[in-house]
């Protein structure tokens, strides 16, 4: 090992959202440099929204990310609503929760089914799998389509939703549509089980790597927290969302256009694995069963298992959406006027919205003047919170895999980055590996 010299340079890691690079230099068996570097063009949303009206902020900040646009819209609405003391009806709350489930399902299925599966099956993309494993690919496509149609039905469309507005919805689905959705969700269970079975057969390919870290996610006594809750941590007590700055502590490193975060340790992790680690008891019954198949229980410190946690969450989202539709039906879905525009009393104030989006906890924080014009904004993005943890994982992982071939080392490092499902557009955007 002493004479081991190698460099890894992966520019623009593929099958992730955005541009990031991995740089590794090993000399005489010693890791001299290991960087996770984001080269995405910065976009300056926090400056762009200053001077804009309260009823436009959700439309603008949705554009931070195409994949989690529903999550950004909801965090934005929650911040505006908190700033102006706006409350929404129980019915709208349930519909927003279904919207968030739809996005989690859509994003997780895209990641696990199209971006991670090729690694486990030894190919470069899902394209060759379409001919070698047509049944498996079609199963994932069916589930993905269901998630997309669910977003269309509740939000208007899957990306940059139109119906989600301050105070509620401009338009809502009918009970008939929701019943149809429920039927399809119920019918999707065999497909979910098929995907679980496929991943279980490939589970030996998931690297067995453990590095202890802190996990942060929303938590609630009532449910598996996604739309609402306090900020929870595996290292500290929970705190209200408005105290987010004392958790995120963002800082800037010169080699990256994305900010980073730390709390009790050098870094922390957010996302599906963090949520599962903190809120495991609140998972729906079938979701728990799927977690058990993979022996996934809290606290799991293997970041590669984030992929499995995502699958578990898809199952939870299906079951919880069925439950929410049942509740809407029992309460009787109330109709609302066409082109609904909830009456809002505009006032000055500051508000924080915290929502769990596919890649982890997301904060939007806005200050408005008395005319409802935004004077200050801050967005803390999940992927930014993960960048520091990714780099520390890479540093811990490289020495353990030095005896592999350069190609295997590169693939394993890329798989690690991919496991975090980084969304680099979000965090400016982010991923490339450079073995230098």
């Amino acid at each position: 090992m002493k004479e081991k010299n190698f460099d890894v340079e992966v520019n623009h890691v593929t099958r992730v959202e955005g541009h990031g690079n991995i740089y590794v230099n090993v000399r005489n068996g010693t890791l001299e440099r290991c960087e996770w570097n984001i080269s995405e063009a910065p976009r300056f949303f926090e400056a762009m929204v200053v001077g804009r009206n309260w009823n436009e902020l959700h439309h603008i900040t949705s554009r931070i990310c195409g994949i989690c646009s529903i999550g950004h819209t909801l965090a934005s609405l929650r911040a505006t609503e908190a700033a102006m003391g706006i409350t929404i009806s129980d019915q709208d709350l349930k519909l927003r929760k279904i919207a968030l489930h739809a996005e989690n399902m859509q994003s997780h299925l895209l990641h696990v089914g199209f971006l991670v599966l090729p690694d486990l099956m030894g190919v470069g993309s899902v394209i060759p799998l379409a001919s070698s494993n047509p049944e498996e690919v079609k199963t994932v496509l069916r589930l993905h389509r269901l998630a997309n149609e669910m977003s269309d039905m509740v939000c208007g469309r899957t990306t940059h939703p139109q119906r989600l507005i301050p105070g509620g919805f401009s338009k809502i689905p009918s009970m008939k549509e929701l019943r149809g959705l429920r039927e399809r969700l119920q019918a999707s269970v065999p497909d979910l089980q098929a995907v679980a079975k496929l991943l279980k057969s490939l589970a030996p390919k998931i690297p067995d790597f453990v590095r202890e870290t802190e996990f942060i996610a929303l938590t609630s006594p009532n449910e598996y927290a996604l739309y609402d809750g306090k900020i929870g941590s595996t290292d500290s007590d929970a705190a209200p969302a408005r105290e987010y700055l004392s958790f995120s502590n963002e800082y800037i490193v010169p080699h990256s256009t994305a900010k980073r975060a730390k709390h009790k340790r050098e870094s922390y992790m957010v996302g599906a694995l963090a949520r599962l680690n903190i809120n495991y008891d609140k998972l729906s019954p079938l979701a728990k069963k799927i977690a058990e198949i993979f022996d996934l229980k809290p606290v799991c410190h293997n970041p590669f298992m984030n992929n499995i946690a995502q699958l578990v969450e898809v199952v939870h989202s299906v079951e919880d959406s069925i439950k929410l539709i049942n509740e809407l039906e029992a309460a009787g879905l109330k109709s609302q006027p066409d082109y609904n525009l909830p009456e809002i009393k505009v006032k000055a104030g500051q508000g924080v919205g915290a929502v769990e989006v596919p890649r982890g906890i997301l904060f939007h924080d806005y200050t408005y003047n008395e005319k409802g014009v935004c004077t200050k904004a801050n967005c803390v993005i999940p992927t930014n919170q993960n960048h520091g943890n990714i780099e520390l994982d890479l540093k811990a992982l490289v020495p353990k895999i030095m005896n592999k071939t350069p190609k295997e080392i590169e693939l394993t490092l890329e798989m690690l980055v991919r496991a975090y499902d980084p969304c680099i557009s979000c965090s400016t955007h982010a991923v490339e590996v450079h073995f230098v």
């Binding site: 623009h12 593929t14 099958r15 992730v16 959202e17 955005g18 541009h19 995405e40 063009a41 910065p42 976009r43 300056f44 926090e46 400056a47 762009m48 929204v49 200053v50 001077g51 804009r52 009206n53 436009e56 439309h59 603008i60 554009r63 990310c65 195409g66 994949i67 646009s69 895209l110 199209f114 971006l115 090729p118 470069g124 993309s125 899902v126 394209i127 379409a130 496509l141 993905h144 389509r145 997309n148 208007g156 469309r157 990306t159 940059h160 139109q162 119906r163 507005i165 919805f169 401009s170 338009k171 800037i252 010169p254 256009t257 066409d338 082109y339 609904n340 525009l341 557009s425 955007h429």
Partner: protein, 245 residues
């Protein structure tokens, strides 16, 4: 020989490439007609040998121009997809502010590490052959443009305002509901989707070729908007186009 296609992204949310992935089964059909040689978001393989380049996102840094010029050199046909690429999109909101202030607002005393210039559409840097407008793009329209290009035809993109489609859809006009909308000057082709969903047209497809901006602003003011608010409505998506005119 199937035509080779490649996807590239600059400053944007990648929501347009996501719409391509969201074609699902139709994407599998499309893959029978073309060979995808580069699509970083979904595949590891990459090649610089391609016929059609699809570009998402705006150019926001001087040093990204070289990459765009290289893509132009490699490709026979360049297609801009999504508002950021076709008109500058939401990114051009920052063009109205002092760019040094913008960097300081987001990155504080580390601002000088982060290079930026006025956000601009792709055709401000290289010639573009076809456009798929919208934020995000519409999947059907994307397929229409791709099919047209494969057949050697010019895609049929409307040059009339969103109002035409909105009227056909029998929507109640936003102005009659006491709201404000830029549909009268915005290029149609979206089937007035945002108004159909109960809201307003924000202008994501950009201005029609000969918009009557001044009379549109007068209408906004007549219905009760202040001059500043009327101008603000135009800044959201039309920033680069207005600057050019």
């Amino acid at each position: 020989m199937k035509p080779k296609v490649a996807f590239f992204d600059f400053a944007g949310c990648e929501g347009d490439q996501l719409q391509v992935a969201n074609l699902e089964e139709e994407l599998l059909d499309l893959l029978g007609q073309v060979e995808v040689v580069s699509f970083r978001e979904v595949m590891k393989e990459h090649s610089d040998n391609y016929d059609i380049a699809f570009i998402e996102g705006s150019c926001t840094r001087l040093h990204d121009e070289a990459r765009l010029k290289q893509i132009r050199k490699n490709a026979k046909i360049v297609v801009a997809i999504g508002s950021c690429a076709t008109i500058g999109g939401i990114n051009s909101l920052k063009n109205y502010q002092d760019l040094d202030d913008v960097r300081r607002t987001v990155y504080g005393d580390k601002a000088k590490l982060f290079d930026t210039y006025a956000a601009r559409p792709i055709d401000a840097v290289i010639p573009v052959d076809a456009y798929v407008h919208g934020c995000p793009i519409n999947r059907e329209e994307f397929l229409h443009v791709v099919k047209s290009l494969l057949l050697g035809k010019r895609p049929d993109i409307p040059n009339y305002p969103v109002c035409v489609e909105c009227k056909k859809n029998e929507n109640v006009c936003a102005f009659e509901r006491g709201q404000f909308c830029v549909g009268p000057v915005t290029r149609a082709g979206c089937n007035s989707c945002c108004v159909n969903e109960g809201t307003i047209c924000w202008g994501c497809r950009g201005l029609v070729d000969n918009p009557n901006e001044n009379s549109q602003k007068e209408v906004l003011i007549k219905y009760g908007l202040t001059v500043d608010d009327a101008i603000n409505k135009f800044k959201l998506y039309f920033g680069w186009q207005e600057r050019k005119r």
